[in-house]
Each structure stands twice: as C-alpha cells, then as structure tokens.
Symmetry: D2
C-alpha cells in the first residue's frame, strides 16, 4: 500500500508512520516529493489492512495496491471454475438457463413452471420458499412447505433447484432440499450467512447487492470460499441508480469485469434488473453477448395471479421461444449448453 502524506506533514509524522509500519514487520520506503511525501509499504496484506494508518497525524490518504480478495481472483486461480450440479455444468464455457417463479405458491404452480422450464430446455428450476419482502404485509413465502413443492417438481422434471436462504436457522432445511443455495441481494453482506453456506458442500449463488460494488460482491464470495466451499456462482441482478425507467440498472459491464477479475461463473437475472417482461429478452441476449455463463429468469404460468413479482415474469407460454433465442446466441458465442 502507499501512504500519501498531507502537504503540511512534518518529518516527525512521516517517521511515526514508518515506525508504525515497521512495528508489524513490514517495510517502508519514503519518497519525498516537491510538495508531498509518499510512503510505500511492503508486507503482509492482512496485517497491513488492519492498521488504521489513515488515523495517524499527517496522513492524507492510503492507497491499496493489492486487491482485497484473493481466493476468488483470476490471479490465484487462472482457470474458470465449473460448478457441477445434478448433471448441469455452469461456467468454463458451459451456458446455463435457470428459470422459474419468483415464489413458490402451490404444488400445481411450481410443477407447471418446472415442466415449462424443462420443455424449454432449461437447466435449473428456481423458486423462492422464503421471500424477502419490503412490506411486512406482503406474502412472505411458504417456508419448508414450499421447499417440498420444489423437491416434488425436481422429482418429476429432473431439474436441479435453486432457492433462497435468508436465515441461518433455516439452513438445514434449505440444505436438505436445494441443489443450489441462493443468497439474495439484500443478504449479500450478511456475513454470518455467507460463512455458514461456506461450510456446506452445495453450490452457492450470490446475488449482487443493490448498491454493492463489484469488489464488495467478490468479497462476499471470498467469505464463502474462505470457509472451504469453492462452488460459488455470481449473479448480477441490477444495481440501484437514479434511473427509474427500469426497476434497477443492469450493470452489464460488471459481467465483463468479473470474468476478467475472477474465475467464478457469472449469471444474469434480467427479470429483477428491469422489472419489465418486454425487456427480459433483449437484456438476456445482451448478457450472453457480454460473456455471461447463464441467465436466471422469472416465469410463471399466470403472471397476473402471481403473489410476487408477477409484473416482471415471463408467462411460461413464452418461455420456449425466449429460451431458444437465448440458447442460439450462447451457441454463437461458443458456449456449450448446460
């Protein structure tokens, strides 16, 4: 790291920083400029990160040189991670279509959705049993009962299922039924939850937080991998900006950035990103073109009756055409399907 001193910093203040740095076994190289002194610091990353050098007198700011994540970085692990689940591969040139309803409502609904996903050539069935809702008055999900409905749909269709975990106390239940455990956008920095799923042996899909930087998102993945679980899938689902024409702003650049910075697979959720069904296909195609390893889309047998996110769901009747077009582009991009 580099410590940039104030223009008015004294020689004593510079010496203070140097001795503080040396006290933890790191080395300091002082470079005196015409107006500003800069101290280059070499040493153990974690040790140095913990030092509150910016609180020392005379320090203007501290610039990190190394990235704060390690295990999830491309430098640490140059080859693409391929997550395998129920015969499906995600990442490393394998393209994955995840689809299903926002929330599990009835056995019939989730089965109908599952059949449509299967018929459309989808690879994974999504559906929420625990729902994070802004309003305490809104439908909060069916809980374990919903997990069982998902499992029944898996049994019939053969599709592995991905479902959200919101509370560490539900982990055993979710672990029992899910094939992929989803950490939602609102829990992306629920660090205990991340650590818990990191100690299990099922793949984890981490949605990007509404206002999380790419670096923070990768740090969330680092929490999981650090505990031993290397099967992490990242999911870009739009960030919060000033624009209100779409529900969120799909950060398509993040897909390309993450593919360069990390070995983990990245999928895109165009449904939450836009909140408008007519935008789901163009943004799915954009995601594929930008290099995404999959898309995760909401579909419902009857969006007008949905208990959650109906307005942004594709009707299952439209799924086959959507899936075909998305798959064709994935093939054009050189991806293997599933």
């Amino acid at each position: 790291m580099m410590v940039i001193m104030h223009e008015s910093a004294t020689t004593e203040q510079v010496a203070g920083v140097v001795s503080r740095v040396e006290a933890v076994g790191a080395s300091a190289h002082v470079s005196v400029g015409e107006r500003v002194t800069v101290i280059g610091v070499l040493g153990d990353r974690e040790e140095l990160t913990a030092l509150p050098l910016e609180a020392m007198p005379g320090v203007e700011r501290v610039v990190a040189i190394l990235k704060p994540y390690k295990l999830v970085s491309r430098e640490f692990h140059p080859a693409d991670t391929v997550v395998e689940v129920g015969g499906v591969r995600i990442g490393g040139g394998h393209f994955c279509l995840i689809a299903g309803p926002c929330s599990v409502e009835t056995s019939e609904q989730v089965l109908a959705a599952g059949r449509a996903v299967k018929a459309a050539g989808g690879h994974v069935l999504r559906g929420g049993a625990y729902k994070p809702r802004t309003s305490p008055y809104a439908f909060q999900g069916l809980g374990v009962e919903g997990l069982r409905m998902l499992a029944a749909a898996r049994e019939e269709t053969g599709l592995p299922i991905v479902t959200e975990l919101m509370d560490p106390r539900d982990l055993d239940d979710v672990y029992e039924y899910a094939d992929i455990i989803q950490i939602g956008a609102r829990n992306m920095q629920n660090f205990q939850l991340l650590a818990e799923v990191g100690r299990r042996d099922k793949p984890v899909l981490i949605k990007r937080g509404l206002s999380a930087t790419i670096e923070e998102w990768l740090m969330a993945a680092e929490y999981v991998v650090k505990e031993g679980n290397r099967d992490v899938i990242l999911c870009e689902r739009g960030i919060r900006t000033f624009e209100t024409a779409t529900r969120n702003t799909l950060d398509i650049g993040a897909v390309a950035v993450v593919k360069l910075a990390s070995h983990l697979p990245v999928v895109v959720d165009p449904s939450h990103a836009t909140g408008r069904p007519e935008l789901v296909l163009p943004l799915s195609l954009a995601a594929v073109a930008a290099g995404a390893d999959g898309v995760m889309v909401e579909t419902h047998p009857n969006p007008e009756q949905a208990l959650c996110d109906g307005p942004q769901s594709l009707p299952t009747s439209a799924l086959a055409e959507y899936a075909a077009r998305t798959r064709e582009l994935a093939a054009w991009c050189g991806k293997t399907l599933g």
Copy 2:
C-alpha cells in the same frame, strides 16, 4: 391506487382490470381521457397491494396513493414517540448523545471510552461486539465477551448501552446485555431479524441501509412495530452515491422528511456518513439544526490503534469539546438534553 392504461389498451383490457379489482371486493372508477384511460381503485390496502395489476394486459403502470407504511406514520400516531431507556429519553424534544468506539476491543478500551462519554455529558455508550466487515480477513468482533465488557462499562458509568445484533441466533445474548439493540445498515432489510427484535421489549435502533429509500427504511421500522415493539429509533448514517470525497453522503434532508412523515425519533451518525473526523462536528451541528433527536458518534481512546474505523473516530480527548458544542446547539433549537 390508480391504474394507468396504455394508450393502445382495449375496452376488454380495461374491463379485465375492473373485474380483477372487484373480485377482491374493491371498487373501480374508470376515467376515459382523450388518449389514456385511468382506473381509480378504492379498497383494502393490503389486498390491493398484493394484486399484480401491472402484469395484466393493457396496463402501463400502477400508482400508489396511500403510503405503504401505517404504524410508523405521523398520520396514524401524530404525537412524537419518546423512547425511554435507563433514564434517558430520546425523541419528543429530548436530545441524546450516543458515543463510543466502533468495536469493543478490550475492557480497558471500552471503559476508557465509557468514562469519556460520561464525562462529556453523553447519554448512551455505543460499541460493537459483532462486527459486519467487508473482508473475511478483518477483525470480526469479540462476541459475547465484548457484550460483557460493555456491561461492565455500563456498571461503572451508568450509561445504557447500544450494540449491534447481526444474527438471530445471537439475540438472546444481545438481549441480555444491551439496552438498545442496533440493526446495522447491512441488515436493514434482514426481515427475520427485524421481526425477531419486534417481539422483544427493548428499544431498537435501525440504521438506514446504504441504498435504502426513506420509504424502505420506514418499512423496516414497520416490521418491528408490527410485531409489537414500538420503541424504534431511526438512524441516518449516509447513503451511497457517486461522490467519493466522503465515505457516504449524509442525507440531511432525510432527517427533516422523516420528522414529518413519522413519529419515531431520528438520530444521525456523522462518523459513518463522512469517514473523516474533521467533518464530524460540522455534520453533527447540521443534524441538530435539521431537527435530529440525537447524534451517534464514534470515539476511541486511541484512534491510531483502533481495530475498526479508527480513521473516522474522534479521540476521546476531543469528545468533551465536541459534545459541548453539539449540546449548545440542541439547546438553541429548543431541545431538552437526555
């Protein structure tokens, strides 16, 4: 609510919306304009909110007329809520100074901080035993041991303590030691956690999420109050914007907006909002002037040695002067102290 139809919506589509609305016992009033038809809908708020009318054919958008929160609204409860804890009153004209270290590190550190807060005329001691950290490699807090250190500081100083709860599994411990339970910014939409503290009888301080709208923040409070716990304190701590000169952007307008929209007390955390100690006093004064019911500030006996947020902490040696100035302005604004 009002349903605004597309310019191209057909008569059948309008009729479809009307019959959907009437099916849940609400009434619909169709207003046909030159270019657009609008349907006014009257009925039970929760029932209507759950209807995915935007998914119906021909619907352009749905505009809510009523606010989504009820129990926390000024309309529902016109008088200011006054939270009382350990002899301290917050809200309703009572101004409160909350101060302490970011994280509890040692008995000595938290005691030194507590004495400084007491000496400076502060009312509540803050300190984190469970720390949400972006990096899994950073100091994560002392847990129950930290809670005990806080309790010891309370015993000596008489100051009630506020500390963060991150995981529902820690609730019994935090409930045992804390006087006010803090829900951190990253957990503002951890809805299970909100509901859990809503079922207890200790005051809850809810920090605004980094990218939470004021409405979402009030909905988080609604989660707590709905469960029966009416002692909620809101804490503005800066939002995430494009500006990087400060750690976050203190949304001073939110203080004034919330005072109008809700009866709950609002305090401001200038330390997290700015990340720079030299900005803590001016922004604290701004908070007081805007009508805040208190400030919550980080202070440390030795910021240069702090394990967390040292760079933004006031040294305890500067606390008395800071507190005096803040208190004087609160008095000028007509507030009673504590």
Copy 3:
C-alpha cells in the same frame, strides 16, 4: 394528470384545485376515497404542465399520466426513423459502426484513423475538434483546424464525419465541415445549443448526460425535433453511479427502453461507458444484442501517445477484428450493415 390531496385536505382546498384547473379550460373529476381525495384532470398537456398545482394548499403530489415528450415518441411516429448521411443509413434495421479518435491531434493521426476505420468496414469517422475537458490545463482541441483535418480525412476515405459542437458560436464552422453534429454528454441539457442544431438540416447525435434520466434524454431530443430537425440519433455512453470499476455504468437497459419508447435510432459508445479497452468488445456485443442501431468506438493509431482518452481507445491495429465480430452479431440480429 392526477392530483393527490393530503389526508388532511379540506373541502375548500379540493375546490381550490378544481377551480384553478377549470380556469385554464381543463376538466376536473373528484374522487373521494376513504382517506384520500384524488382529482383527475383532463385538458391540454402543456397548459396543465405549467400549472404549479403542487404549490396549492392541501396538495400532496401531482402524478403525470401522459409522457412529457411527443414528437420523439413511438406513439406519435410508430415507424423507425432512419437517418441517412453520406450514403449511410442509421436506424430502422440498419447497423452503423462509428469509429475514430477521441480528439483530432494531427493530420496524420486522423488520416491514419480514418483509413483504419474504412479498412475495418466502418461507416462513419468520429473525432473531436472541440474538447470538453474537466481540467482547464488539459488539451482543449484544435478547433477549426481540427475540423479541416477531419474534412481532409473524409475526402480521402469517403467516410462521413461526426464531431462535437460545444458552443453556439462555433455552429457555422461545425455545420460547414461535419456530416453529423454531436452534442456531448455535458451539453445534453444545453437547451440553446439543442435548439440551434434543431434549426439546421444536418443530423444530430445526442449523447446521454452522465446523470440524465431516459426521459430527460428524450426531452433533449424533443428540443431538436421541435425546431424542425427530425434526424436525431441518440447515444448511450454510460451513466454515473456508485460503481468505480468502470469509468461509467453502461445502461444497457436504456437501449431497449428507448427502442420501445421512441422511433429514433440509438447507438452505444462502449469506450466512454467503460474507460477500459478490454471491455469494449464485450460491451459492444451486448449493445448489439440489446438492439442498438450502432456502436461508436474510440480508436487511435497509438493510444499511448493520445492527447485524450488514450487509455480507453482501441489501437487501430485491433479495429478490423473488433469490427468483424460486431458486424457478425449485428447480422445475426437481423440488421443490415450501414
């Protein structure tokens, strides 16, 4: 529009709004709900927009029903606008590759770039003679001399040129040399400038402002079209958000939204959106897949020597491969080239 009254609004206040509305020849329909009264207003859009109804006592807020733009809307003009310039067509299924240096530096540089663009199958040559620079100490462009260099490059390559106009006093010069007049992001709401180019008969390319909503961007286009110039091209170039991993955040959803809302062609500038050359190809492909009518990319014979935006420019040596891939995807999407 709809006027939503406060819960506490009196009958007199409702009557006041009604009479104010009727005074400008519009009609008001009062709908009294259990808690809130709503007044639907029908009448001339411009007349109504000018009324400061939100300033009237008892008014909570005013909700617009009609979009504020008209001439640029898809409803007003359902068929795609096709802009024709120098034998090139943009929009309506015609895909366009615009490329060239950020700024015109020397005759040799712009000629070399022009030849590379031509050789790569590009359609339009871009290059700035007037440069908006954050710093007054940075290179500000060559002015008219730069325009002449662009014209010389056009003469040799046959490519029409697009260049930025920043000041109405330079309009005659820019009009003389340019084929397409660019309005930069920082001038997107320079309304005089918009009106001036609206009175000329050369196509106008309007870059989206850094923090402009899609609606404001379309209103900027409305300024131009209102004056009589219907040849407007919109250019998405990234918006400003909290994310710093890319220079801006490419709002890929905006491309799809604008294609639905307006008949005007939309192109994407992936160079300014990302600021990183390695992201230019994936984001160009994403733009094409999302439905963009073209891309506008920075290229320089020697990015390391560029006076402006070198770090984000593709070297001209890489242009042919980039263009080929982009063109192939455009063809896959069913576009005609140029």
Copy 4:
C-alpha cells in the same frame, strides 16, 4: 503520481513507463514488491497529467497524488476569499441571504419579491431571466426584458442581483445588468461559458452540477479563476441520487469538505435541493450549522401562480420569519451578517 503495474507486467514494460516519463523531464522511482511493481513519478503536474500512461502495456492503474486544482485550493491561498458586491460581503465570516423568485415573470412580481427580500433583511435578490427547462414546451424566461425588471427592482431596493447566464451570446446583456453572474447546475461543465465569465470582472456563482463530484465542481471554479476572475462563489444545490422523497439530495458534507479544501465561499440552495417548501427552513439551518457562507432561497409573492418552481418556493409572506431564524443561527455560529 504513482503508476501501479499489473502483476504480470514484464521488466520491459516497466522500463517503457520509465523512459516515457523521463522523456518529459520527470523522474521515476521504481519500487519492486513481492507481487506488484509501483513506479513513483515526480515532475510537472500538467505535463504528467497529459501523459496517457494507463494506455501503456503492463500498467494496471495510475494514482494521482496531487489534487488537480490549484488556484482555488486552500493550500495555494490559505485565507478565505471574501467576495464583495454592492456593499455585501460573502465569505470569510460574512453570511449572506440571497432570495428571490425562480424566474422573473412581471415587473410587479419581481418588485414584490425584492421588497420582501429587503424587508426580511436579505442581501441579494435572485431571479432568472434565462431559464433552463427540461421541456421545450415550458416557459423559457423573459430574456433581456427580465434583466431590465431585475435592474428596476435593484434600483428600488438597493439589493444587488444575481441571475443566470446560459449562453455566451447573452454575456454582454447579463454582464450589463447583473451584479453576480450565475452559472447553473446544467452548465457547470460548459467550459467555454466558464472561461468567458472568467474574463469579466463581476463575481460568478457556480452551482454544483447534478452529478458533479466536489473535485469537478472545484475544477469548474478553477476554469474561472484561471482566466483572472477570482470572485467565485460556490453553490451546493443537491445532487442526484436514488432517493426520490426529495427533488435532489442536499450534500451537506460537501459544504464542510469545500470549506477545508478551498478558500472560496460556499452557499447552499435548499429550494432546489429539496423541492419542498416545508424542508427549506430545516435544511437552511443545517447549511448554516455546517459552515455555509450563505443560503440562496426561492421566494414568490404567490407560489401557486409561479411559472417555474412554484411548488418549492416560500411565499414572500413567510420570508421574514425564515430569514430571522436563519440569521440567528448564523450569528450563533459566529458569522457577521452581509
């Protein structure tokens, strides 16, 4: 500046950067870390800023050490700048109340407003003759006629006037009538306009752009001062964020940051920042408490009839009480009035 190389950068790439830097007369100091090499560069700031080092092979990123502004910085000119105009002083401990209508509509209106401002103890009369409006269908201002009405109000009240310049072609007119020339938020990066007013000898008030960083705002001021005009006043008027409860988000922290970073006076416009008259007083008090050198507020004899921004204007009948409270706090803060 510091050049941080990629982990994979070669010795040749490091040497390339060094020779590039030395070619412009600067010196390079190479520091080889375990994983990353950093090159410290010392030399002429402008020369170095112009070098596109990030475009060189092997370079990861470039970190600036010195601030990009100079003339407006506190380091360059430690003492507060005091702008004097028509007997009023702004900055350096002198507090200034600027008030008036959003736009000049009639002689009567501006006179009535001027009298109210004078009676309330205000120091400067504001009013727009040229209005930047999002819609081409909205009232665009009275132009020179409006300037004359302002001058007449000055004549009667003795108050100096501040009015916005939008187009360099109007500069002679605005210069003739105005005492302070305002550059609006949408023109904050209209660099020609900034340079033009920098060549005149009347004070310039620069509103912060909707999405301008503090650094960019100071750079806009640098454009003016560089041309020789040192009488610049900065005006914070809210930035664009995701929050929609207020029209913009008042960045109160920016006031304190600018007071530290620059010697120029800073005023706050709470009317545009919030868009809600009930928030104007609390946010004005917050501005004063944070250290602002003045406030600039919209007032209208009859907000319900205003052609522009009526909903956010204080009625002139409420101005005296507003002004008294604001002034009292300014005095409490140790400011001299006017």
